[in-house]
Subunit: 215 residues, 2 copies
């Protein structure tokens, strides 16, 4: 399982930035190691070697830290998604790039969907609008644009974008969330880049064949 | 969101069975209401009107209660899956029945995959083999049989059953796990039978088209 390493964090320029990123890194590593979407402030403090009071100082609360972590780890994927809207490629190529991008995020940060869910359960008033605006809506809108483009070009049949959104988010995510099942059911203890790449190929094949217009 | 009601629990014949089922029902209702896969013993006791000591008496531990709950709510689906192996229907019809059955389980009990995951994280030695043997392997094996049948009959192309397993478990589950996103991103506050049925139709269409052999 790939993990966020210090190389994956923006390099600190001042001590303040460093401590903030160390806390995010510690939370990310703990959740990846344990396969959970919730870790205690004291565990984050212990792992980072910093005081848990710094979480309050930098993020206001543990939920604030989790939202900051989502922003950090999803930032490259959100930029790629925005870029995807403007490249001159057919819709099926764009969808392949999008699926591959989503799987890569879940491969590196398998807790992402669980953390979003937990924030929405715990503090829906605060994080519902933020997560929708910054993460989920841009993803859903990008998918809808790709589906519309493909339909207009006669490549895809008409597909409900809402149902498609949940189908492919779940399809891309489950292997990484379910890696304990991978071990106990299929006897695979490592989820390496090779298996991840096979999964991307499999998903691109079945998802695209699932929506191509048959003439 | 559909919920387990007292009508969904086997009717008690003696006082002992009744109290046991009341605890399972309380846990199921709390997890469905809250959108989580973990509830405290004191909350289960309060909801059921029974003493939390009864959890230890009937189930040994909270994990034991969760495993018993999985067995209870998945029992009809596991029986259907076993039946599916023996009916004289083509592979694509069997796969439609299986997909519809999975979605119906997640519609009624949206916590199922999270509870399995939590048991595997918390007590892998105990629940890894049990969950694999009683739940995940029968599902994975049934899917593999259907894929093999469809391939042999020239209906399906060759598909990796491991990758297919994670793809469709995730695809079928995400709408119900992600119902807070449904609300905040798509503005839908109810996940009713009509939407569930549309989701089944959508999934059967895309998943089957995704693996049909093109001649």
């Amino acid at each position: 399982m790939a993990r966020l390493t210090s190389a994956g964090v923006r390099s600190p320029e001042v001590g303040d930035v460093n401590a903030r990123d160390q806390l995010l890194l510690a939370a990310s590593e703990l959740m990846t190691e344990r396969g959970v979407a919730d870790v205690s402030l004291s565990d984050i403090a212990k792992k980072s070697g910093l005081s848990s009071a710094l979480v309050k100082y930098y993020f206001g609360s543990k939920a604030g830290l989790m939202m900051a972590l989502l922003r950090m780890v999803l930032d490259p994927a959100m930029k790629q998604l925005d870029h995807l809207a403007h490249i001159p490629q057919p819709a099926d190529t764009k969808l392949r790039i999008h699926i591959s991008g989503m799987v890569n995020v879940y491969f590196q940060y398998p807790y992402v969907n669980r953390v979003m869910h937990q924030l929405l359960v715990d503090e829906p008033q605060t994080y519902g609008p933020l997560i929708a605006q910054e993460i989920s809506k841009p993803v859903a809108n990008a998918q809808k644009s790709i589906l519309d483009e493909g339909y207009a070009a006669g490549i895809f049949r008409k597909v409900d974008p809402l149902l498609f959104y949940f189908e492919i988010v779940g399809a891309c995510d489950q292997l990484f969330f379910g890696r304990y099942q991978l071990e106990h059911v299929f006897g695979l203890t490592t989820l390496d880049k090779q298996l991840k790449d096979r999964f991307v190929d499999h998903l691109c094949g079945t998802i695209l064949d699932g929506i191509y217009l048959r003439k």
